[in-house]
């Protein structure tokens, strides 16, 4: 019944329980068949197929690690020249390709307000190469490069993007698929650079049972660790769903990457999450007053 909406094919090589494959599938369903995808080295590159296989039913271009955004910009401009204005250009990159290696080129494309949807599939480390920390890895989290827990904070990527005054930026999670797909459809309505930051739990790198992918994504939201909101024109913040505010312990305790945490450290994370949430509320209310 839904097969005509399905753009991600079966038989791809994602690990069992992969959150990223769920996100790609949902984003592609929401965008539809009139689309061209850009893929850069990452788990997405594996999922979308190694030569000669393809998991996508729309054309996809494998580009270099650092240039997801400019590649999409180029394709988008070429389509405009050919007057094919009904085709959506979609850039998929991981947190490594967005937060770290692709940040400079993304900034340039966003500054020029190139017309594409950029989807950051954030699994909070370089999972494809073997779980090395990225600037998206949350503090105190274990990775192979941070065996005692990461010292640095998680980069506030959304604020960097928002600082470019892009027409639409939003966070989404696979835990709430309807919300995710609605945001992708909303992004399609805007001209210019649209940015969607999707939290994609990774059972392998987060050291948890495969079956927990969906539940952990919901918990990330409900504990306020990953709030759902959107920002229009770099100005108007809107919280799209209000979390229950469960203790972060519920989220941390079922992930092996946080199993070394002491009570004090969990408390510290709780405090930081609460501060970040207050900050988001401040940003959302600031607009209401104007």
């Amino acid at each position: 019944m839904d097969t005509q909406d399905e753009i991600l094919r079966k038989g791809h090589y994602a690990c069992p329980g992969c959150g990223l494959a769920i996100a790609m599938r949902l984003v592609l369903r929401a965008v539809g068949r009139k689309a061209i995808a850009v893929i850069v080295p990452s788990c997405e590159a594996v999922i979308s197929g190694t030569y000669p296989f393809s998991a996508l039913e729309v054309p996809a271009f494998h580009s270099a690690f650092a240039i997801a955004a400019p590649t999409a910009a180029g394709i988008s401009r070429a389509l405009k020249i050919r007057k094919e204005t009904d085709v959506t250009v979609l850039a998929f990159a991981g947190d490594g390709g967005t937060y770290d290696i692709g940040l400079q080129s993304l900034s340039g494309a966003a500054e020029r307000n190139e017309d594409f949807i950029y989807v950051c599939l954030d699994n909070e480390a370089y999972m494809n190469t073997g779980i090395q920390a990225s600037s998206s890895t949350p503090p105190l989290s274990w990775t192979v490069t941070t065996p005692k827990g990461k010292v640095e904070k998680k980069k506030r990527l959304m604020e960097i993007i928002v600082a470019h005054s892009v027409p639409y930026a939003a966070t989404a999670t696979i835990g709430y698929p309807q919300d995710l797909m609605e945001k992708v459809k909303r992004a399609k309505e805007f001209q210019g650079t649209k940015f969607i930051h999707v939290l994609t739990p990774c059972p392998t790198g987060w050291k948890m049972k495969e079956e927990l992918t969906g539940v952990i994504a919901m918990l990330a939201f409900e504990t306020k660790v990953f709030p759902l909101y959107e920002v229009i024109n770099g100005e108007i913040y809107r919280i799209t769903k209000v979390p229950k505010g469960l203790p972060v312990r519920d989220y941390l305790s079922i992930q092996g990457r946080f199993s070394h945490l002491s009570e004090d450290e969990i408390e510290k994370i709780q405090q930081e999450v609460d501060i970040e949430w207050e900050r988001l509320i401040y940003l959302a209310k600031r607009h209401e007053k104007v």
Binding site: D2, K10, P16, G49, T213
Partner: protein
């Protein structure tokens, strides 16, 4: 064509679909959709599939919702008003915020104008006599008729309904609701013989002209206190009072009701209506929290200005011809852990209460035991086995006379049990009864008997089995009630049926335990695109690509997915 060729020469293009890889070989498990039993249904004496009828309501298919109820419960309009709703006490949602108002939803459907039920084909129908037309007798008649048997109902009074007719005042159960619910049964054309007096002899003559007899005469007599002064003028008894008293003498100023059950509440509330200027007090032996009456009935009695004094039993009545006062003794009620019986322990404190009228509502007992001596035990109760059979062949019994807790739904449940067991006996079906149970409480399901049940009825879904993260806290929608002062003016029903909007809002609160609500989370959260939606809204699994991750099963809010071995046998992961 040429362009494509050129492109291929510049760089490699992947053209083979990944579906060539049967990634399902990576794992040996697959999701199995198997709906199971909800705790509300398990605790319902009538086994109504509550999450299923609520699911139909969510889908806005009220006809199917009512059909679903009528499959297990002949009188949703009645039980939607007066049931003691064990379903709400068992509701998983209590752990989240508060239970779903199942009874109010049932009432809403009870009032929905759809009254047709199918009758099974029966090539050798039996003739069954049903004695007593209270909830047990009517329920037995209903299920026998649906099974294609011929039923004659014998009733002592001049109208059918038994306790439903005269034991529950119209402000809780209006007569037109009773008639409307009975309409479903009457459309199945039972024979009805009114003004029939049951005696020991005519039971046996019934056995001559009928294949089976079902006895549900109810409790004919009120229990007496056995204290001094009980015979004085002004002392009445609960059910007889409700049945016979239509007005109260002018000079009555102070009425006392003795007892803590629903009859006591109903008597007190009836007196309030018949004589609004009299002071009415209820004296109950139990503590407030242990009163056997329905919580709603107690709360409404208090709202209507009735005093409730707990922890007292009467010692004697004072007065000349007419009572002038009741002397109470402070009493503690304790449950004997071994026998389960209640012990009344007198405490050293007396209390005198002036009264010119007292109504004793301490329970009912069987009427004139001697009439049924061959069947009944010494006290007049009729003992039955787990199939509802008495010690005499072809005679079954149910309702209050078998000594169970006196509630409408338990009585209806015993009538249903007898109907199913009579049908099995008639068809020489040797089916163990536990195959018809849903859950572990020992109540029979008619749906299961008709082989229409699709759910796993042994597994009961608990709160911890559910993924409740997608559910928000939502306040319970309570149906509106008439203002207390307005209520006292007459005997009109005080509660309102949900509006359509209220019913929709409340049905959305159901967690749908063990019942697939087509939320699509399993479908959207399958990383391997291996779950497909079928035209009927249900799902199927593509084993060739399912990698056995189990995300669907773990994420399911209703716990209807279980990971099981694939048909192809075990693979090593």
């Amino acid at each position: 064509m040429k362009k494509h060729g050129l492109f291929d020469e510049i760089m490699p293009v992947s053209k083979t679909p990944t579906s060539a890889h049967k990634t399902g070989l990576w794992g040996n498990l697959k999701p199995l959709y198997k709906e199971a039993t909800s705790p509300c249904r398990e605790s319902c004496p009538l086994n109504t599939d509550i999450p299923l009828f609520i699911f139909h309501m969510k889908e806005k298919d009220l006809k199917r919702a009512k059909e679903e109820i009528l499959l297990e419960n002949p009188f949703p309009g009645i039980s939607g008003r007066v049931c003691h709703h064990p379903c709400e006490d068992a509701c998983n949602r209590r752990e989240l915020d508060s239970s779903v108002s199942v009874r109010a939803l049932e009432r809403f459907l009870g009032d929905y104008p759809f009254y047709e039920v199918p009758v099974s084909e029966n090539r050798s129908p039996k003739k069954v006599a049903i004695v007593g037309s209270g909830p047990a007798g009517l329920s037995c008649a209903y299920f026998l008729l649906r099974l294609g048997h011929k039923v004659t109902i014998f009733e002592k009074e001049s109208d059918v309904g038994g306790l439903l007719l005269f034991g529950i005042p119209p402000y809780r159960l209006p007569k037109n609701v009773l008639r409307r619910d009975l309409h479903v049964l009457l459309a199945l054309k039972p024979q009805i013989r009114l003004n029939f007096e049951l005696t020991g002899d005519n039971i046996f003559s019934l056995l001559g002209s009928f294949d089976y007899v079902f006895l549900a005469p109810g409790m004919g007599e009120s229990k007496r206190l056995q204290v001094a002064g009980e015979n004085k003028k002004g002392v009445y008894y609960g059910v007889q009072f409700l049945k016979e008293v239509k007005s109260i003498e002018d000079e009555i100023r102070r009425a006392i009701v003795i007892g803590g059950g629903d009859v006591a509440m109903d008597v007190a509330r009836t007196i309030r209506r018949l004589k609004p200027d009299a002071k009415v007090s209820i004296f109950a032996p139990e503590k407030v929290e242990d009163l056997p009456a329905l919580r709603e009935n107690v709360a409404e009695a208090l709202e209507e200005g009735i005093d409730l004094i707990c922890g007292y039993l009467p010692l004697y009545f004072e007065g000349k011809k007419r009572i002038e006062a009741v002397i109470f003794q402070r009493t503690e009620v304790k449950k004997d852990e071994k026998t389960g019986k209640f012990l009344f322990i007198p405490l050293n404190e007396k209390r005198e209460e002036a009264a010119d009228m007292a109504v004793v509502c301490i329970g009912q007992k069987p009427l004139e035991a001697s009439k049924l001596r061959e069947i009944a035990e010494e006290e007049g109760y009729i003992l039955v086995d787990h199939r509802g059979r008495t010690k005499i062949e072809r005679i079954y019994a149910g309702g209050d006379i078998i000594g169970q807790k006196a509630t409408v739904s338990l009585a209806s449940s015993s009538g249903k049990r007898a109907a199913i067991c009579i049908d099995m006996d008639a068809k020489r079906l040797d089916l163990p009864l536990d195959e018809l149970y849903v859950g572990s409480k020992g109540f029979l399901s008619f749906k299961k008997y008709l082989k229409l049940e699709k759910k796993e009825t042994r597994k009961v879904v608990g709160f911890s089995d559910l993924n409740t993260l997608p559910h928000e806290k939502i306040p319970r929608v309570d149906a509106k009630k008439e203002e207390p002062l307005e209520r006292l003016k007459d005997f009109r029903e005080i509660g309102y049926t949900y509006t359509k909007e209220e019913a929709e809002k409340e049905s959305d609160r159901c967690l749908s335990c063990g019942q697939c609500m087509r939320c699509n989370l399993c479908f959207y959260l399958c990383p391997d695109v291996s779950i497909r939606r079928k035209a009927d809204g249900l799902y199927e699994v593509d084993e060739d690509y399912c990698k056995s991750c189990g995300v669907c099963a773990k994420t399911c809010p209703s716990n209807v997915i279980e990971m099981v071995e694939k048909d192809g046998g075990a693979f090593i992961r």
